[in-house]
Symmetry: C2
Subunit: 500 residues, 2 copies
């Protein structure tokens, strides 16, 4: 362990996961590493589920984003989790959230740290952080994500370290650890290009706060990326066409602007689609790198990628770990305070590509709530990017549930990104460029370009009736949510207008 | 005129407003100075209304924000306006917008300039700018607002200047004119404190673009600030109580953080309320200064205010103009690209105080659309601030229309600031501190603290029924908009539940 724990006094803090877990007590606020399944602490929290069988134990759990290793599932099912933020993707946890048993605070991933700094959230009691090494100064070298680990380490009275011996120590140097200060004194983040480094390579802490170190050896849970189907490939083609149009109009060059793509199959496929495009010398300023980023680097298309995490398939995980020197000049990992900072996203004019659950005829997007009520995953970083992007692009297939659900609806019953934040909607049918358009101009465009043909006439009919009522954003309030009501009651949105 | 037009070659460009107006042709995009009735060009555009009687003349009009002198009314009624952005407050224009006769693009006031830079909006053909003077270099000294004049001057092929001889030339020096660059090369805005200056005092232009100069002499249309009633004073007291609590919790000091207050009686009264508070050495980083800012300066409470415009009553307008040297060290006026820049607002952690039209039981705010469909004014700068503020505060009276309308509703039918952006809702009933709360925790708090007692039971009843349906954000979709439907049909929201 001496090559991983280079600050000798900490060698004596090595304990079992079970022992380490006893620093976490009932009622505490725990901040854990982990962002989109990458770099999560993998063992200590699981011990809480065991302990909860014989002692009262409920905690508030904060992370960077989602976790692997069923940690959310295990903690939710054991009843350990009272509150959870800022993001999750687990089925069991989701069920308890929607049952009102676990309080879930859905947050922009770039804002949790702000709320911790300003006292809008209670402070972290214990941080549980996965690291690859501890430096000579006792500082912490993260693994495949940085997440919120910097603020967790700063605020926590106690830090529990999970030192992952499976991650090569050569990962040191990938991270650019910078943190802003508490207000009122705060300074510009001097990042102008994705490759700019403004920080150090390890998280500075007072080593005396490290109360326990646990040796671990599990890999990150691999990303589950389905192969793109024909509809996803169509979405990718439409998006490439739009970007080419922007080049023709003189709004972009062939290197575009730094790209961001949310997690998931569609965003991944869209990036893969750029391999065979005329674009070149691309950069990314994103919160997560999926397989597509590595494929673009290998294809010589992607010069540099700034991210908060690396969330890839098993194949790419191993290639990355075995070739850390190869990718070193192409990738930097940052805290989400920086990767998701509106300041930098706006400055660079990032092209943000995120997935919508559904969009309405005026361009409002629901990213989170099924039927407007039931939480899917959370808003994640989509808002951090779409609000500040030069081009805020939302992608979705026009249909879901074998056609029973239209992703283009009269009114979304929950708004995550509103009309001001949505520049382009892309489905397999085409794209609607909403920039500079009034709501009454957007509705026919979205219907014709994005809605599935089998829903178009019903949408047009809604617009006709709504326009007769007047307004900047015409609606027939009695019918605005009828499709969602029908879907909930009958399983199909079509019953809302077929029977009427 | 030699003291106002110090670049001699431009002296020969002085013409009548009528003559100047002929540089504006049918179909053009016109960018005009003016922000919340301050510093608007006052004569040239009115000539278009006359010309439109005898020639086809339709334009797109962009400004900083709202205008005085009935310019929007005159242009709307003359049929000259085809498109309007990013904000308006005029009754006649509003009627035509809601009838679908004029296309209105409602925008965050800080984003219009971004969209012009990136090609998301068509470029400006002609700029019409009110100035106090033209410098030796031919650069333009604005008057009581800066608005979007910098980008308009930069993009326009032709600039028409209205030189307002009523504004003392001593206003020179009040402005800090800085503009970012077009992407991809853009740099941090190096403003850390409201008083930091990073620019020059006049708008740099190529004087050859000035095709006409018109002498004018009208004052800005005065702000209409009603005296605060008891409910408004209650709102102000609740807000002060909350800020004092934040000081006690150690989240703020007695100098708070830079304050922003939207336009209108409530925001003005809230600031006036600080005169008799224990807070001191305050600063503002705002988009508009109302009478309250001057009263706070006079009371020795406000050290410095950064703004985009000065929109005050006749009394304060004259005091300001007659005492320009007195306020010189207390005020700076900036382009809205800077006054409304998320980068700076987030960095400083501004305390943003804006008015809601209505809020729902989960903290989503509608600032713009009556009944969810009909445009009131526009989102203005409220989103620029609330999205980036350390504390995003929305204020509203709990009732409107003699109690027929509740400002706290089950679901807002239009979302301008969503749950993520709203930290505090304040009505005359009290305040609801939503920070760190899940939706199910927010609803009882908002109902008990903010809703009028006469609507509370109906709201609780809605929540009970919604909670039975489950979800992160429970709703009864069939009833979610029933109050708005009732209000539209019967004039009163009460009929939605009294008769059920």
């Amino acid at each position: 362990m001496n090559d991983r724990i280079r600050y000798a006094p900490l060698l004596e803090r090595i304990v079992s996961a079970e022992e380490a877990s006893h620093h976490i007590q009932d009622g505490m606020v725990v901040g854990m590493s982990g962002f989109t399944r990458a770099g999560d602490a993998k063992e200590v929290l699981h011990e809480l589920a065991k302990r909860a069988q014989s002692e009262p134990l409920k905690i508030t759990l904060l992370t960077g984003a989602s976790l692997g290793h069923d940690t959310d599932k295990v903690l939710a099912e054991a009843g350990v989790m009272a509150r959870r933020l800022p993001f999750q993707v687990d089925t069991s946890l989701r069920r308890k959230i929607n049952a009102g048993e676990i309080m879930f605070i859905d947050q922009h991933l770039g804002e949790t740290v702000e709320q911790l700094r300003s006292g809008s959230l209670p402070p972290i009691d214990v941080a549980v952080l996965e690291v690859a090494a501890i430096t000579e100064q006792g500082h912490l070298v993260p693994t495949t994500s940085v997440g919120n680990s910097v603020i967790f380490a700063l605020q926590a009275k106690k830090i529990i370290v999970e030192i992952n011996c499976k991650v090569p120590t050569a990962i040191e140097g990938y991270h650019d650890i910078y943190q802003t200060t508490d207000r009122p004194e705060r300074f510009p983040m001097q990042i102008v290009h994705p490759q700019d480094r403004i920080g150090v390579t390890a998280i500075p802490i007072d080593p005396a706060k490290v109360v326990a170190i646990v040796e671990t050896g599990m890999e990150d849970s691999p990303a589950k990326i389905e192969a793109p189907d024909e509809e996803i490939r169509q979405i990718s083609r439409h998006l490439t066409d739009f970007l080419l149009e922007e080049v023709k109009r003189g709004n972009l060059g062939y290197s575009l602007l730094p790209l961001q793509a949310g997690i998931g199959a569609v965003a991944n496929a869209v990036l893969v689609g750029l391999i065979d495009s005329p674009f070149h010398d691309l950069t990314m300023y994103s919160e997560v790198l999926q397989d597509s980023a590595f494929e673009l680097i290998e294809a010589g298309k992607l010069l540099f990628a700034s991210s908060c995490s690396i969330t890839v398939s098993e194949k790419w995980y191993h290639r990355f770990m075995q070739n850390l020197d190869r990718y070193r000049d192409h990738i930097v990992l940052r805290p989400q305070e920086i990767s998701n900072a509106g300041e930098i996203i706006r400055r660079m004019g990032v092209i943000g590509i995120n997935t919508a659950l559904e969009a309405d005829i005026y361009g409002n997007v629901n990213s989170t709530h099924v039927h407007g009520t039931h939480m899917m995953n959370g808003i994640g970083g989509s808002g951090d990017f779409s609000r500040n992007a030069q081009l805020a692009i939302f992608v979705t297939k026009s249909l879901a549930k074998n056609g029973d659900i239209s992703s283009i609806v009269p009114m979304v019953p929950h708004v995550d990104s509103n009309e001001h934040d949505v520049d382009l909607i892309v489905t397999e049918q085409g794209y609607a460029d909403l920039r500079g358009l009034a709501p009454r101009e957007r509705s026919p465009l979205i219907i014709e370009r994005c809605a599935h043909p089998s829903y178009r006439e019903a949408l047009h009919e809604y617009v006709r009736e709504a326009n007769q009522r007047g307004g900047q954003t015409p609606h027939v309030l009695e019918k605005a949510l009828a499709w969602h009501i029908a879907a909930r009651e009958t399983g199909s949105m079509r019953t809302a207008f077929k029977t009427s």
